[in-house]
Assembly symmetry: C2
Homo-oligomer: 225 residues x 2
Amino acid sequence: MWMAELSRLSGLSVPTIKFYLREGLLPAGTATGATRSTYDESHVRRLRLIRALTDVAGLRLDTVKQVLDGIDSAESWHDAVGSAHTRLAGTGEDSAPPTEASLARVDALLEIQGWQLAPGHPQAEILARALDALDEVGHPMSEDMLWFYAHAIRPIAMEEVLWVHSDEHGEEIEADVESAVVRTILTEPVILALRRIGQENVSRQLNEPKPDVPPDMRMWPERDR
Amino acid sequence: MWMAELSRLSGLSVPTIKFYLREGLLPAGTATGATRSTYDESHVRRLRLIRALTDVAGLRLDTVKQVLDGIDSAESWHDAVGSAHTRLAGTGEDSAPPTEASLARVDALLEIQGWQLAPGHPQAEILARALDALDEVGHPMSEDMLWFYAHAIRPIAMEEVLWVHSDEHGEEIEADVESAVVRTILTEPVILALRRIGQENVSRQLNEPKPDVPPDMRMWPERDR
DNA sequence: CAATATTGGACAGTGGAACTATCCAAGTGT
DNA sequence: ACACTTGGATAGTTCCACTGTCCAATATTG
């Protein structure tokens, strides 16, 4: 297919696709002359992936590029997801580094969990930085709470890794790597949304045991559908 | 204290603080004349809160403003968190609306969970949009997986709400509301970081039962500390 | 074969977000 | 008296993610 159809199928304008080509986010098509190239289904998929990572996961384009490069060059699931997580660390990273105290807390937590992480792991730093932020605003996370989160999240991570490994039937390593990375990233909004929905529900069940709430009490605008 | 000291204590430049004042993120100080105002500890706290929400939670300034306004005007925990979640919906929201199919999936899931949410709830739409994104990139989330996530996250939300309610001793509603909202938001990076750390650990334990990994196999740069 | 449309490539321009800088007149401290 | 600080207003900067324009080469259509 040509550029025009690629634009039509992806829903993106031709200038935007050209921009992604320039930025190295989309591989070039097959040149059929000096001023013409053809594209295929892989380009459509790549464009959809770029938009999902930016629009839904909220990644920036340079992060998307690093994640995509990581997928293309990864040798294994562990490589790819680790690499993707490292790239993801960059999100909003012009703030202060974490304190030694919270880094020590994180190390201790991982120790108790039986998890070994080399010092300086980007996610450990993000975690420590978040604990610092809670301290700084005067709402520190207690050791109990942190412990609870670690234990509650552990089975999620466990199950996710097992899903991927049970999907591995020997071949299609490329597809598996992409699948693992993309699922890992795009599931983040799913988890956060489920948590927010759950909180509101539990809270409402505690606050309003009576089910007769006037419709004007609702806090979000009505959707027309 | 004066502007200069507020700047020193918060670590933000005077022009930046002036900018936050203009944007309505920081309440004005107490005017002591036409060209002078004094600020207090509450202004320092507010500035730290703004930076935590932008740097750590990745919120945009207009979202921060809505969250802060919600805290200041909320009557109850449920109000405040619900309002904050509604404001948070705006993150990355110029993309397509969710499909009817995924909205129906979400409705069914909530039904099974025993959760009642009015149609059009922003978090339900975010969830549906994320499911659509997974479909679009060719890695759909199975019903089993979605069900698993919902069940795994439910106790987290439950515990979190119970923590807040056990903290409520009658007064200091303002502080409780802020605490609940700030904790809810700033815990999101904690949860995501724990999940990523957990995944890498489970994955490594499956991939490399032998603990003698050469140091050049590590995928993140060494930190000097 | 001629007229019209499309493409790749280069480059400049736009709009939003979050600051950052400059001015100035009113006021403060010494 | 006089340098210094502040509030208020306005303009400028940087980064990001596009968007628009131009042109020569090439396809497509008549």
